[in-house]
Protein backbone atom coordinates (compact mmCIF):
# COMPACT_ATOMS: atom_id res chain seq x y z
CA UNK A 1 0.00 0.00 0.00
CA UNK A 2 2.41 2.66 -1.17
CA UNK A 3 0.01 5.23 -2.59
CA UNK A 4 -3.08 6.49 -0.78
CA UNK A 5 -5.80 8.47 -2.55
CA UNK A 6 -6.41 11.54 -0.43
CA UNK A 7 -9.95 12.92 -1.06
CA UNK A 8 -8.54 16.45 -1.18
CA UNK A 9 -5.09 16.02 -2.75
CA UNK A 10 -5.43 12.92 -4.89
CA UNK A 11 -2.93 10.02 -4.94
CA UNK A 12 0.01 10.68 -2.61
CA UNK A 13 2.92 8.66 -1.16
CA UNK A 14 1.73 6.68 1.87
CA UNK A 15 4.52 8.21 3.96
CA UNK A 16 2.70 11.57 3.82
CA UNK A 17 -0.14 10.15 5.93
CA UNK A 18 -0.77 9.22 9.56
CA UNK A 19 -3.43 6.77 10.76
CA UNK A 20 -5.72 8.41 13.31
CA UNK A 21 -7.36 5.26 14.69
CA UNK A 22 -10.83 3.76 14.49
CA UNK A 23 -13.80 6.04 13.89
CA UNK A 24 -15.46 6.32 17.29
CA UNK A 25 -17.85 8.88 18.71
CA UNK A 26 -17.67 10.13 22.31
CA UNK A 27 -20.52 8.96 24.54
CA UNK A 28 -23.26 11.40 25.42
CA UNK A 29 -23.30 11.97 29.15
CA UNK A 30 -26.76 11.52 30.55
CA UNK A 31 -26.31 11.36 34.31
CA UNK A 32 -27.83 14.16 36.36
CA UNK A 33 -25.90 15.71 39.24
CA UNK A 34 -25.89 13.34 42.24
CA UNK A 35 -26.89 10.29 40.16
CA UNK A 36 -24.05 7.96 41.21
CA UNK A 37 -25.22 4.94 39.23
CA UNK A 38 -25.70 7.13 36.19
CA UNK A 39 -22.20 8.55 36.52
CA UNK A 40 -20.75 5.05 36.81
CA UNK A 41 -22.54 4.06 33.61
CA UNK A 42 -21.18 7.20 31.92
CA UNK A 43 -17.70 6.27 33.15
CA UNK A 44 -17.98 2.78 31.65
CA UNK A 45 -18.98 4.32 28.32
CA UNK A 46 -16.01 6.74 28.49
CA UNK A 47 -13.61 3.87 29.28
CA UNK A 48 -15.05 1.95 26.34
CA UNK A 49 -14.65 4.99 24.07
CA UNK A 50 -11.12 5.88 25.13
CA UNK A 51 -9.51 2.46 25.50
CA UNK A 52 -11.50 -0.31 23.84
CA UNK A 53 -10.92 -1.12 20.18
CA UNK A 54 -12.81 -3.18 17.61
CA UNK A 55 -9.40 -4.13 16.12
CA UNK A 56 -11.08 -6.16 13.41
CA UNK A 57 -9.39 -8.52 10.95
CA UNK A 58 -11.34 -7.28 7.95
CA UNK A 59 -12.81 -3.99 6.75
CA UNK A 60 -12.32 -1.14 9.22
CA UNK A 61 -13.37 2.51 9.20
CA UNK A 62 -10.59 4.87 10.32
CA UNK A 63 -9.54 8.49 10.56
CA UNK A 64 -6.49 9.31 8.45
CA UNK A 65 -4.56 12.57 8.18
CA UNK A 66 -2.62 13.81 5.19
CA UNK A 67 0.08 15.44 7.30
CA UNK A 68 1.52 17.58 4.52
CA UNK A 69 -1.78 19.47 4.14
CA UNK A 70 -3.29 18.85 7.57
CA UNK A 71 -6.41 17.31 5.99
CA UNK A 72 -8.31 14.69 8.00
CA UNK A 73 -10.56 12.19 6.19
CA UNK A 74 -12.20 8.78 6.57
CA UNK A 75 -10.78 5.60 5.04
CA UNK A 76 -12.26 2.15 4.72
CA UNK A 77 -9.42 -0.33 4.73
CA UNK A 78 -9.07 -4.11 4.71
CA UNK A 79 -6.65 -5.07 7.49
CA UNK A 80 -6.09 -8.55 6.09
CA UNK A 81 -5.24 -7.63 2.49
CA UNK A 82 -3.53 -4.28 3.26
CA UNK A 83 -5.66 -2.38 0.74
CA UNK A 84 -7.72 0.79 0.87
CA UNK A 85 -11.27 0.23 -0.30
CA UNK A 86 -12.45 3.83 -0.16
CA UNK A 87 -11.36 7.21 1.15
CA UNK A 88 -13.87 10.04 1.61
CA UNK A 89 -14.57 13.32 3.29
CA UNK A 90 -15.64 13.20 6.93
CA UNK A 91 -18.69 15.23 5.90
CA UNK A 92 -20.35 11.96 4.92
CA UNK A 93 -20.29 10.89 8.60
CA UNK A 94 -20.51 14.23 10.35
CA UNK A 95 -23.58 15.58 8.57
CA UNK A 96 -25.93 15.12 11.48
CA UNK A 97 -26.75 17.88 13.99
CA UNK A 98 -24.98 17.60 17.33
CA UNK A 99 -27.67 16.58 19.82
CA UNK A 100 -28.26 13.90 22.44
CA UNK A 101 -27.14 10.40 21.48
CA UNK A 102 -23.83 9.26 20.03
CA UNK A 103 -24.56 10.64 16.57
CA UNK A 104 -23.31 7.66 14.56
CA UNK A 105 -24.55 4.50 12.87
Amino acid sequence: MKVIHCPLNGPRNAQEFVCGGEVKFPPAESAAAGDVAGHEADMRRWVDYIFMEENRAGVVQEWWCHVASGYWFIAERDTTSDTFLRTYSSQELLNRPVSSGSGHE
Binding site: M43, E53, N55
Partner: protein
Amino acid sequence: MPLGLLKYGLRKKYQGRRYFPAAAPVRPSYDVVIIGGGGHGLACAYYLARDWGIRNIAVLEKGWLASGNTARNTAIIRSNYLTPEGALFYEESLELYRSLANELGINLMYSERGHLTLAHTDAAIRTSRWRAEVNKHLGIDSELVGLDEIHRLCPQLDLSDKTSYPILGALYHPPGAIARHDAVAWGYARGAMERGVEIHQQTEVTGITIEDGQVTGVDTNRGRISAGKVVQAVAGMSSVLARMAGLKLPIRSIPLQACVSEPLKPFLDPIIVSGSLHVYVSQSARGELVMGGSTDPYPLYSTRSTLDFTEGLMGPMLELFPFLRHAKVLRQWGGIADMTPDFSPIMGLTPVKNYYIDAGWGTWGFKATPVSGKRMAETIANDRAPELLRPFELARFDRLQQVGERGAASVGH
Protein backbone atom coordinates in the same frame (compact mmCIF):
# COMPACT_ATOMS: atom_id res chain seq x y z
CA MET B 1 38.52 -40.65 25.70
CA PRO B 2 34.75 -40.21 25.30
CA LEU B 3 33.96 -43.95 25.21
CA GLY B 4 30.35 -43.33 26.19
CA LEU B 5 29.90 -41.09 23.18
CA LEU B 6 31.59 -43.65 20.91
CA LYS B 7 29.31 -46.42 22.17
CA TYR B 8 26.29 -44.18 21.64
CA GLY B 9 27.36 -43.38 18.10
CA LEU B 10 27.78 -47.09 17.25
CA ARG B 11 24.36 -48.08 18.57
CA LYS B 12 21.87 -49.44 16.04
CA LYS B 13 18.89 -47.61 17.56
CA TYR B 14 18.93 -43.89 18.23
CA GLN B 15 17.29 -43.05 21.55
CA GLY B 16 15.88 -39.69 20.66
CA ARG B 17 13.45 -37.63 22.71
CA ARG B 18 10.52 -36.48 20.69
CA TYR B 19 10.06 -32.72 20.63
CA PHE B 20 6.73 -32.40 18.93
CA PRO B 21 3.65 -34.56 19.36
CA ALA B 22 2.57 -36.85 16.57
CA ALA B 23 -0.76 -35.74 15.17
CA ALA B 24 -3.53 -37.29 17.26
CA PRO B 25 -7.32 -36.91 17.43
CA VAL B 26 -8.69 -34.27 19.76
CA ARG B 27 -10.72 -35.70 22.63
CA PRO B 28 -14.22 -34.40 23.32
CA SER B 29 -13.28 -32.73 26.59
CA TYR B 30 -10.36 -31.45 28.68
CA ASP B 31 -10.01 -29.75 32.07
CA VAL B 32 -8.13 -26.85 30.49
CA VAL B 33 -7.99 -25.70 26.88
CA ILE B 34 -5.18 -23.30 26.01
CA ILE B 35 -5.83 -21.40 22.80
CA GLY B 36 -2.47 -20.55 21.24
CA GLY B 37 0.56 -22.81 20.96
CA GLY B 38 3.25 -20.15 21.22
CA GLY B 39 5.81 -19.65 23.95
CA HIS B 40 3.26 -18.30 26.43
CA GLY B 41 0.61 -20.98 25.87
CA LEU B 42 3.18 -23.79 26.01
CA ALA B 43 4.82 -22.37 29.14
CA CYS B 44 1.40 -22.10 30.77
CA ALA B 45 0.68 -25.77 29.98
CA TYR B 46 4.10 -26.80 31.33
CA TYR B 47 3.67 -25.00 34.66
CA LEU B 48 0.06 -26.17 35.08
CA ALA B 49 1.37 -29.73 34.83
CA ARG B 50 4.57 -29.23 36.80
CA ASP B 51 3.35 -26.98 39.65
CA TRP B 52 -0.36 -27.74 39.96
CA GLY B 53 -0.69 -31.37 38.82
CA ILE B 54 -3.16 -30.39 36.12
CA ARG B 55 -2.42 -32.54 33.08
CA ASN B 56 -5.74 -33.00 31.30
CA ILE B 57 -4.85 -30.07 29.04
CA ALA B 58 -5.10 -29.44 25.30
CA VAL B 59 -3.02 -26.70 23.68
CA LEU B 60 -4.66 -25.71 20.39
CA GLU B 61 -2.46 -24.06 17.77
CA LYS B 62 -4.00 -22.99 14.46
CA GLY B 63 -0.68 -23.20 12.56
CA TRP B 64 2.56 -25.02 13.27
CA LEU B 65 3.99 -24.95 16.78
CA ALA B 66 5.00 -21.46 17.93
CA SER B 67 4.67 -20.03 14.40
CA GLY B 68 3.35 -16.71 15.61
CA ASN B 69 5.33 -14.02 17.40
CA THR B 70 7.43 -16.63 19.21
CA ALA B 71 9.07 -17.40 15.86
CA ARG B 72 9.41 -13.74 14.88
CA ASN B 73 10.82 -11.72 17.78
CA THR B 74 14.38 -10.42 18.19
CA ALA B 75 14.83 -12.53 21.33
CA ILE B 76 15.96 -9.85 23.80
CA ILE B 77 15.58 -10.65 27.52
CA ARG B 78 15.84 -7.90 30.14
CA SER B 79 14.12 -6.44 33.20
CA ASN B 80 15.10 -2.73 33.16
CA TYR B 81 11.55 -1.41 32.99
CA LEU B 82 10.30 1.89 34.35
CA THR B 83 7.48 1.04 36.77
CA PRO B 84 8.00 -1.02 39.95
CA GLU B 85 5.15 -3.33 38.83
CA GLY B 86 6.78 -3.91 35.46
CA ALA B 87 10.36 -4.19 36.70
CA LEU B 88 9.47 -6.78 39.38
CA PHE B 89 7.47 -8.79 36.86
CA TYR B 90 10.20 -8.95 34.21
CA GLU B 91 12.87 -9.57 36.83
CA GLU B 92 11.08 -12.77 37.90
CA SER B 93 11.14 -13.81 34.25
CA LEU B 94 14.87 -13.16 34.03
CA GLU B 95 15.45 -15.30 37.13
CA LEU B 96 13.44 -18.14 35.58
CA TYR B 97 15.33 -17.81 32.29
CA ARG B 98 18.72 -18.21 33.98
CA SER B 99 17.98 -21.81 35.01
CA LEU B 100 15.56 -22.64 32.20
CA ALA B 101 17.96 -24.52 29.90
CA ASN B 102 18.85 -26.91 32.73
CA GLU B 103 15.23 -27.29 33.78
CA LEU B 104 13.95 -28.05 30.28
CA GLY B 105 17.03 -30.05 29.22
CA ILE B 106 17.48 -28.11 25.99
CA ASN B 107 20.13 -25.77 24.67
CA LEU B 108 18.48 -22.34 24.66
CA MET B 109 21.68 -20.62 23.47
CA TYR B 110 21.06 -18.25 26.37
CA SER B 111 23.76 -15.62 26.23
CA GLU B 112 24.10 -12.81 28.77
CA ARG B 113 25.50 -9.95 26.70
CA GLY B 114 24.71 -6.78 28.59
CA HIS B 115 22.08 -4.35 27.30
CA LEU B 116 22.75 -0.70 26.46
CA THR B 117 19.88 1.76 25.92
CA LEU B 118 21.55 4.76 24.31
CA ALA B 119 20.45 8.26 25.31
CA HIS B 120 20.79 11.00 22.70
CA THR B 121 18.93 13.84 24.46
CA ASP B 122 18.80 15.43 27.93
CA ALA B 123 15.26 14.10 28.36
CA ALA B 124 16.48 10.59 27.60
CA ILE B 125 19.28 10.94 30.14
CA ARG B 126 16.72 11.98 32.78
CA THR B 127 14.43 9.03 31.99
CA SER B 128 17.41 6.67 32.01
CA ARG B 129 18.41 7.93 35.44
CA TRP B 130 14.80 7.47 36.65
CA ARG B 131 14.75 3.89 35.33
CA ALA B 132 18.17 3.15 36.85
CA GLU B 133 17.02 4.36 40.28
CA VAL B 134 13.78 2.34 40.19
CA ASN B 135 15.70 -0.72 39.01
CA LYS B 136 18.41 -0.42 41.68
CA HIS B 137 15.78 0.08 44.38
CA LEU B 138 14.28 -3.28 43.36
CA GLY B 139 17.67 -5.03 43.23
CA ILE B 140 17.90 -5.03 39.44
CA ASP B 141 21.38 -4.45 37.99
CA SER B 142 20.92 -1.25 36.01
CA GLU B 143 22.97 1.95 35.87
CA LEU B 144 23.37 5.17 33.89
CA VAL B 145 26.82 5.16 32.26
CA GLY B 146 28.87 7.74 30.37
CA LEU B 147 30.78 7.67 27.11
CA ASP B 148 33.95 6.09 28.57
CA GLU B 149 32.00 3.08 29.82
CA ILE B 150 30.01 2.81 26.57
CA HIS B 151 33.28 2.82 24.62
CA ARG B 152 34.68 0.08 26.86
CA LEU B 153 31.58 -2.07 26.39
CA CYS B 154 31.15 -1.43 22.67
CA PRO B 155 34.24 0.09 21.01
CA GLN B 156 32.63 -0.07 17.56
CA LEU B 157 29.92 2.51 18.33
CA ASP B 158 30.38 5.92 16.73
CA LEU B 159 30.58 8.15 19.83
CA SER B 160 31.80 11.24 18.01
CA ASP B 161 29.80 14.47 17.75
CA LYS B 162 29.79 14.09 13.95
CA THR B 163 26.59 12.01 14.03
CA SER B 164 23.10 13.51 13.65
CA TYR B 165 22.16 12.63 17.22
CA PRO B 166 25.34 12.32 19.31
CA ILE B 167 25.20 9.79 22.14
CA LEU B 168 25.22 11.45 25.58
CA GLY B 169 25.10 8.36 27.79
CA ALA B 170 23.30 5.05 28.19
CA LEU B 171 21.29 2.90 30.57
CA TYR B 172 23.46 -0.20 31.10
CA HIS B 173 21.81 -3.44 32.21
CA PRO B 174 24.45 -6.20 32.52
CA PRO B 175 21.98 -9.12 32.84
CA GLY B 176 20.45 -8.30 29.43
CA ALA B 177 20.54 -11.46 27.30
CA ILE B 178 19.51 -13.09 24.04
CA ALA B 179 18.30 -16.67 23.53
CA ARG B 180 17.04 -18.93 20.79
CA HIS B 181 13.31 -18.17 20.74
CA ASP B 182 12.29 -21.39 18.96
CA ALA B 183 14.18 -23.52 21.50
CA VAL B 184 12.27 -21.89 24.38
CA ALA B 185 8.99 -22.97 22.78
CA TRP B 186 10.27 -26.46 21.95
CA GLY B 187 11.60 -26.95 25.48
CA TYR B 188 8.29 -25.99 27.06
CA ALA B 189 6.38 -28.09 24.49
CA ARG B 190 8.41 -31.19 25.22
CA GLY B 191 8.25 -30.63 28.98
CA ALA B 192 4.47 -30.26 28.81
CA MET B 193 4.05 -33.27 26.54
CA GLU B 194 6.17 -35.50 28.77
CA ARG B 195 3.81 -34.59 31.61
CA GLY B 196 0.72 -35.64 29.67
CA VAL B 197 -0.37 -32.41 28.01
CA GLU B 198 -1.76 -32.78 24.49
CA ILE B 199 -0.61 -30.33 21.84
CA HIS B 200 -2.70 -30.09 18.68
CA GLN B 201 -1.31 -28.19 15.70
CA GLN B 202 -3.39 -27.13 12.67
CA THR B 203 -6.33 -26.83 15.09
CA GLU B 204 -8.10 -23.49 14.86
CA VAL B 205 -10.67 -22.25 17.36
CA THR B 206 -13.69 -20.87 15.50
CA GLY B 207 -16.02 -20.19 18.41
CA ILE B 208 -16.27 -20.06 22.18
CA THR B 209 -19.34 -21.38 24.01
CA ILE B 210 -20.57 -19.49 27.02
CA GLU B 211 -23.51 -20.55 29.19
CA ASP B 212 -24.75 -18.53 32.16
CA GLY B 213 -21.71 -16.25 32.03
CA GLN B 214 -19.31 -19.20 32.14
CA VAL B 215 -17.21 -20.71 29.36
CA THR B 216 -18.07 -24.35 28.65
CA GLY B 217 -16.08 -25.15 25.54
CA VAL B 218 -14.69 -24.18 22.16
CA ASP B 219 -15.59 -24.93 18.56
CA THR B 220 -12.69 -25.84 16.32
CA ASN B 221 -12.05 -26.92 12.74
CA ARG B 222 -11.78 -30.42 14.19
CA GLY B 223 -15.00 -30.40 16.14
CA ARG B 224 -16.35 -29.20 19.43
CA ILE B 225 -14.34 -29.52 22.66
CA SER B 226 -15.79 -29.12 26.13
CA ALA B 227 -13.54 -27.46 28.68
CA GLY B 228 -13.65 -26.65 32.36
CA LYS B 229 -11.36 -23.67 31.86
CA VAL B 230 -10.18 -21.85 28.75
CA VAL B 231 -7.28 -19.44 28.35
CA GLN B 232 -6.42 -17.41 25.27
CA ALA B 233 -2.74 -16.73 24.57
CA VAL B 234 -2.80 -15.65 20.94
CA ALA B 235 -0.92 -12.33 20.83
CA GLY B 236 -1.81 -10.52 17.58
CA MET B 237 -5.13 -12.38 17.29
CA SER B 238 -6.24 -11.47 20.83
CA SER B 239 -9.14 -9.23 19.77
CA VAL B 240 -10.42 -11.82 17.30
CA LEU B 241 -10.55 -14.51 20.00
CA ALA B 242 -11.88 -12.16 22.65
CA ARG B 243 -14.76 -11.21 20.36
CA MET B 244 -15.76 -14.91 20.28
CA ALA B 245 -16.06 -14.69 24.07
CA GLY B 246 -18.08 -11.48 23.85
CA LEU B 247 -15.18 -9.32 25.08
CA LYS B 248 -13.65 -6.12 23.75
CA LEU B 249 -9.97 -5.38 24.41
CA PRO B 250 -7.86 -2.21 24.45
CA ILE B 251 -5.60 -3.72 21.80
CA ARG B 252 -4.47 -2.71 18.31
CA SER B 253 -2.77 -5.37 16.17
CA ILE B 254 0.14 -3.66 14.47
CA PRO B 255 2.97 -5.35 12.51
CA LEU B 256 6.47 -5.31 13.98
CA GLN B 257 9.17 -6.04 11.43
CA ALA B 258 12.73 -7.28 11.88
CA CYS B 259 15.65 -8.29 9.71
CA VAL B 260 19.05 -10.00 9.85
CA SER B 261 22.32 -9.25 8.13
CA GLU B 262 24.58 -11.81 6.50
CA PRO B 263 26.78 -13.58 9.09
CA LEU B 264 29.71 -11.44 10.19
CA LYS B 265 32.70 -12.15 12.39
CA PRO B 266 31.72 -11.61 16.03
CA PHE B 267 32.27 -7.97 16.91
CA LEU B 268 29.19 -6.83 18.84
CA ASP B 269 29.10 -8.06 22.44
CA PRO B 270 26.22 -6.12 23.99
CA ILE B 271 22.64 -5.58 22.83
CA ILE B 272 22.28 -1.98 21.61
CA VAL B 273 19.00 -0.06 21.72
CA SER B 274 18.42 3.53 20.67
CA GLY B 275 15.06 5.11 21.43
CA SER B 276 15.82 8.27 19.50
CA LEU B 277 17.11 6.45 16.45
CA HIS B 278 14.33 3.82 16.59
CA VAL B 279 16.65 0.85 16.25
CA TYR B 280 17.86 -2.09 18.30
CA VAL B 281 20.50 -4.64 17.32
CA SER B 282 22.32 -7.67 18.64
CA GLN B 283 24.69 -10.17 17.04
CA SER B 284 23.53 -13.78 17.17
CA ALA B 285 25.72 -16.84 17.73
CA ARG B 286 25.60 -17.32 13.95
CA GLY B 287 27.17 -13.90 13.47
CA GLU B 288 24.03 -12.33 11.99
CA LEU B 289 23.05 -8.88 13.18
CA VAL B 290 19.43 -9.13 14.35
CA MET B 291 17.84 -5.72 13.86
CA GLY B 292 14.50 -4.20 14.67
CA GLY B 293 12.85 -0.82 15.04
CA SER B 294 9.44 0.69 15.70
CA THR B 295 6.11 -0.89 14.83
CA ASP B 296 4.46 -0.24 11.45
CA PRO B 297 2.54 3.02 11.07
CA TYR B 298 -0.94 1.42 10.94
CA PRO B 299 -2.79 -1.69 12.25
CA LEU B 300 -2.67 -4.75 10.00
CA TYR B 301 -3.19 -8.48 10.34
CA SER B 302 -0.23 -9.47 8.21
CA THR B 303 3.32 -10.68 8.69
CA ARG B 304 4.52 -9.21 5.41
CA SER B 305 7.59 -6.98 5.59
CA THR B 306 8.33 -3.90 3.48
CA LEU B 307 11.11 -2.00 1.77
CA ASP B 308 10.05 1.08 3.80
CA PHE B 309 11.06 -0.76 6.94
CA THR B 310 14.54 -1.84 5.87
CA GLU B 311 15.23 1.51 4.19
CA GLY B 312 14.17 3.33 7.34
CA LEU B 313 16.27 1.10 9.59
CA MET B 314 19.54 1.32 7.66
CA GLY B 315 20.01 5.04 8.27
CA PRO B 316 20.08 4.65 12.08
CA MET B 317 22.19 1.47 11.81
CA LEU B 318 24.85 3.26 9.78
CA GLU B 319 24.71 6.21 12.18
CA LEU B 320 25.70 3.82 14.97
CA PHE B 321 28.10 1.61 12.97
CA PRO B 322 29.27 3.41 9.81
CA PHE B 323 31.62 0.53 8.86
CA LEU B 324 28.60 -1.70 8.13
CA ARG B 325 27.80 0.12 4.90
CA HIS B 326 28.91 -2.85 2.76
CA ALA B 327 27.19 -5.53 4.85
CA LYS B 328 24.10 -7.08 3.29
CA VAL B 329 20.62 -7.61 4.70
CA LEU B 330 19.90 -11.30 4.37
CA ARG B 331 16.27 -11.75 5.38
CA GLN B 332 13.34 -9.74 6.74
CA TRP B 333 10.01 -10.66 8.27
CA GLY B 334 7.22 -9.44 10.52
CA GLY B 335 5.03 -10.41 13.45
CA ILE B 336 1.66 -9.05 14.58
CA ALA B 337 2.11 -7.10 17.82
CA ASP B 338 -0.92 -6.75 20.13
CA MET B 339 -0.29 -3.18 21.33
CA THR B 340 -1.94 -1.79 24.50
CA PRO B 341 -2.40 1.89 25.42
CA ASP B 342 0.05 1.65 28.35
CA PHE B 343 2.58 -0.76 26.76
CA SER B 344 1.92 -3.28 29.53
CA PRO B 345 0.37 -6.73 29.12
CA ILE B 346 -3.15 -7.92 30.01
CA MET B 347 -3.20 -11.02 32.23
CA GLY B 348 -5.66 -12.75 34.47
CA LEU B 349 -9.39 -13.07 34.81
CA THR B 350 -12.08 -11.75 32.49
CA PRO B 351 -15.77 -10.97 33.08
CA VAL B 352 -16.49 -14.48 31.69
CA LYS B 353 -16.11 -17.09 34.42
CA ASN B 354 -13.33 -19.67 33.83
CA TYR B 355 -12.12 -17.70 30.80
CA TYR B 356 -8.62 -16.30 31.25
CA ILE B 357 -6.54 -14.00 29.14
CA ASP B 358 -2.84 -13.59 28.38
CA ALA B 359 -2.63 -10.76 25.85
CA GLY B 360 -1.36 -7.28 25.10
CA TRP B 361 2.23 -8.40 24.66
CA GLY B 362 3.00 -5.93 21.90
CA THR B 363 6.74 -5.71 21.39
CA TRP B 364 7.62 -6.98 24.89
CA GLY B 365 6.38 -10.60 25.03
CA PHE B 366 9.33 -12.94 24.50
CA LYS B 367 11.23 -11.85 27.61
CA ALA B 368 8.13 -12.61 29.71
CA THR B 369 7.56 -16.17 28.43
CA PRO B 370 8.56 -17.98 31.65
CA VAL B 371 6.90 -15.63 34.15
CA SER B 372 3.68 -15.35 32.16
CA GLY B 373 3.49 -19.15 31.84
CA LYS B 374 4.20 -19.72 35.52
CA ARG B 375 1.90 -17.04 36.90
CA MET B 376 -0.95 -17.64 34.44
CA ALA B 377 -0.83 -21.31 35.47
CA GLU B 378 -1.15 -20.14 39.07
CA THR B 379 -4.07 -17.89 38.12
CA ILE B 380 -5.89 -20.66 36.27
CA ALA B 381 -5.31 -23.28 38.97
CA ASN B 382 -6.66 -21.00 41.72
CA ASP B 383 -9.13 -18.93 39.68
CA ARG B 384 -7.38 -15.94 41.24
CA ALA B 385 -4.49 -13.81 40.00
CA PRO B 386 -1.41 -13.60 42.25
CA GLU B 387 -0.22 -10.18 43.49
CA LEU B 388 2.46 -9.97 40.81
CA LEU B 389 -0.19 -10.08 38.08
CA ARG B 390 -2.84 -7.85 39.70
CA PRO B 391 -1.58 -4.57 38.19
CA PHE B 392 -1.96 -6.10 34.70
CA GLU B 393 -5.58 -7.21 34.92
CA LEU B 394 -8.01 -6.23 32.15
CA ALA B 395 -10.12 -4.34 34.70
CA ARG B 396 -7.32 -1.82 35.30
CA PHE B 397 -8.61 0.26 32.38
CA ASP B 398 -12.01 0.58 34.09
CA ARG B 399 -10.18 2.24 36.97
CA LEU B 400 -7.87 4.32 34.72
CA GLN B 401 -4.93 2.54 36.38
CA GLN B 402 -2.63 2.00 33.43
CA VAL B 403 0.91 0.72 34.01
CA GLY B 404 2.77 3.13 31.74
CA GLU B 405 5.84 1.54 30.15
CA ARG B 406 5.98 3.29 26.77
CA GLY B 407 9.59 4.49 27.04
CA ALA B 408 10.95 1.31 28.57
CA ALA B 409 9.04 -1.19 26.43
CA SER B 410 9.69 -0.13 22.87
CA VAL B 411 11.42 2.25 20.53
CA GLY B 412 9.85 4.77 18.22
CA HIS B 413 6.53 5.62 19.84
